[in-house]
């Protein structure tokens, strides 16, 4: 196989499993063996799978909070600046800073920016949109990753990665198939 002679063109090794139980077990084993540049691919969310590989990203929540805070300050600021500073209208001698009335636009902008930053940060942190990714070079992945397939990929950038030894480790986990992923 040509890929073995050119390690630079190899993205990683991919193993296919039958269900979430096998995949999670395999991911746990590979992580315990010291591999860190690993990822699993499933057609539905599997709880505990990312955690089994040591991933625990809580940044999305922080963006949500930041978005909400920004929306709240911005929304109230907009109401205050337009109604009190830039365009003050005396309506029956009522106070210009009629803040109870401003709460509703403020609430809506809080939700709006929190929601946009939640969705946006999730996509950006996931590196999406992405037009090309090496895992799609595997035929079985292209055909089944979004319907029935459960995949585990160990990337060649991992310091522990060694084609022969990593393959042996994956074979010991009884996968359905192992394929090399072209970069």
């Amino acid at each position: 196989m040509a890929e073995i002679d050119q390690p630079a063109a190899l993205y990683g090794l991919m193993a296919e499993f039958t269900d979430a139980t096998d995949l999670t077990r395999a991911a746990t084993t590979v992580y315990a063996d010291g591999y860190r540049q690993i990822d699993a691919f499933t057609p539905a969310p599997v709880h505990g799978l990312a955690e089994a590989m040591g991933y625990d990203d809580r940044r999305v929540q922080k963006f949500t909070f930041a978005g909400g805070l920004l929306g709240m300050i911005g929304g109230f600021g907009l109401c205050y600046w337009t109604m009190v500073i830039d365009y003050p209208l005396n309506i029956g001698g009522r106070p210009l800073n009629s803040w109870p009335a401003f709460i509703i636009p403020t609430f809506e902008t809080t939700i709006l920016l929190a929601a946009l930053l939640t969705a946006g940060s999730m996509l950006v942190l996931n590196g999406l949109p992405q037009l090309y990714h090496p895992v799609f070079n595997v035929g079985a992945f292209r055909a089944t990753a979004s319907s029935t397939g459960f995949f585990l990929c160990i990337e060649s950038t991992d310091p522990k990665f060694d084609l022969a030894r990593t393959r042996a480790l994956l074979e010991g986990l009884h996968p359905k198939a192992i394929s090399e992923v072209d970069a």
Binding site: D19, A20, T21, L23, T24, R25, D39, A40, F41, T42, P43, A44, P45, V46, H47, G48, L49, A50, E51, M53, Y55, D56, D57, R58, R59, V60, T64, T82, M83, Y87, I91, S98, A101, F102, I104, P105, F107, E108, T109, I111, L112, A114, A115, L116, A119, S121, M122, N126, L128, P129, Q130, Y132, H133, F136, A143, T144, A145, S146, S147, T148
Partner: protein, 460 residues
């Protein structure tokens, strides 16, 4: 059928037994990749024809002005706001199903949330037609409605409920679309991988953003979905509350009532669930989705309709009670005029459709047999439109000064615009069925044992 206590996978009882990832994917994506049933063409043709009526009506409106509508003094708010509130209300069930039921971990929402959210997005689109076109010059609506720096140095009045409404509805539309789209991404990836034609594959591929189902992505994705649900929940409650402020903040008898916000929100959910059932009952029959939309789903939706219907009916009773108890002669006259005045047939039709007919839903037989249930839902759809008609028209046409009393008669253009928006809705919904998975495929997969690692205690 599995017993709840013995269930190995949460929510598995909401899926017919014997399904796996492959069969679920094939069945739901097959609706798009397979041939469209004949009824699809008929339905689309009907919807698309009615849509032309909307286009003609709006063109004529822009050409002539709002004088073609029946609004005049004293009834200056007519069909435009009635239809706006009706459509917006319908949208609320979609958000309730996709967000609130997600937070409450009601797994039965899984097979209906996609279609219900689509309904929300399209219903909000139909609703938006009215406030935008009632300005008569929709191309100027931007600076009447939205705050942006303009050469006249004017700003909208943030103390006005109508501007609150602009903020609430535009936020609601945006967040609903974002939530719907985020939910679609994994399914668009499925459609990308199953598409045969390269053009179709590219299109789905583009919109799926290169989703590959990575576990790390799923983790952030689920966090984001839950957060969006948490944000949508107060949002959806705020939207119809703010819509009710359009009325409640005024001093018109029958509108100036503290009961309005909860009563409007309950009415919105009620109307929305009736509409979800109106759409899903035929869709389920045409596409044979009985495995996914089971009798339990239909039964649960009917129960929500009944409960919210009772809240709405309580609202009607309270309106009548406070007409008397307030000892205010204008309030008392308003309710008597509703019951005995020129619009009394509408009021009693409303009580019949929203108060009497839904009582049939106490019977399990009615809740689980599709034809009677469909009939009840049609009555609710009509009833909720009548409710808005009665609230808007009866309060305005006879208020404080008998000298300024008058009648409101909708014109043919009022009707054609209203019916036309149903064409817009149907057209969008038929296109949705044809190009997007009408049931969330990845969420249904999660109801099977294959998606759960054994010994997994994280449910939901």
């Amino acid at each position: 059928m599995l017993d709840h206590a013995k269930e190995s996978v949460p929510g598995a009882r909401f899926l017919a037994p014997g399904h796996n990832f492959g069969s679920i994917t094939d069945k739901i994506s097959g609706i798009i990749t397979g041939r469209a049933p004949f009824s699809w063409f008929i339905g689309f043709l009907i919807g698309f024809s009615i849509l032309q009526l909307l286009l003609v009506s709006l063109t004529y409106l822009v050409f002539k002005g709002t004088g073609i509508w029946g609004v005049n003094n004293p009834v200056g708010w007519g069909f435009a706001i009635i239809n706006f509130v009706w459509w917006i209300g319908i949208g609320h069930a979609g958000t309730l199903i996709s967000a609130i039921l997600l937070l409450f971990r009601q797994q039965w929402r899984t097979s209906i949330n996609r279609a219900a959210e689509a309904m929300t997005v399209f219903a909000v689109g139909c609703a938006a037609v009215f406030p935008i076109f009632h300005t008569g010059r929709p191309w100027l609506a931007a600076y009447w409605l939205l705050p942006y720096p303009n050469t006249m140095a004017l700003w909208p009045n943030f103390r006005s409920p109508l501007i609150w409404d602009v903020f609430a509805v535009s936020t609601y539309a945006t967040v609903s679309i974002v939530f719907w789209y985020i939910g679609l991404i994994p399914d668009l990836a499925t459609m990308r991988d199953r598409a045969k034609s390269p053009v179709v594959r590219r299109l789905y591929g583009l919109f799926s953003l290169g989703w590959r189902g990575s576990a790390v992505h799923w983790q952030r994705y689920e966090t984001a979905s839950l957060l969006l649900a948490g944000l949508s929940t107060p949002l959806v409650l705020s939207v119809h509350t703010v819509v009710s402020f359009d009325f409640a903040v005024s001093v018109i008898p029958g509108w100036h009532a503290t009961i309005f916000p909860p009563y409007f929100v309950a009415g919105a959910v009620y109307a929305g669930f009736a509409m979800v059932l109106t759409l899903l009952i035929p869709m389920r029959a045409i596409y044979g989705l009985h495995d996914f939309i089971t009798e339990r789903h239909i039964n649960n939706m009917a129960k929500v309709t009944l409960v919210t219907g009772l809240i709405v009916f309580y609202g009607y009773c309270m309106e009548a009670f406070f007409g008397w108890y307030s000892a205010n002669e204008f309030e008392a006259y308003m309710i008597l005029n509703r019951m005995q005045g020129p619009y009394a047939p509408y009021y009693w039709a409303l009580i019949f459709c929203n108060g009497v007919v839904p009582q049939l839903l106490w019977s399990r037989t009615v809740r689980t047999s599709v034809l009677p249930l469909f009939a009840v839902c049609m009555a609710v759809n009509v009833g909720m439109w009548l409710e808005r008609f009665v609230i808007v028209v009866t309060s305005l046409h006879r208020d404080y000064l008998p000298g300024s009393w008058g009648m409101y008669y909708p014109t043919v253009w009022d009707w054609s615009t209203f019916i036309g928006t149903m064409g817009l809705f149907l057209t969008l919904f038929y296109l949705f069925i044809r190009v997007l998975p009408l049931i969330s495929i990845f969420e249904i997969r999660a109801l099977t044992p294959a998606a759960h690692a054994k010994g997994d205690t994280h449910h939901g």
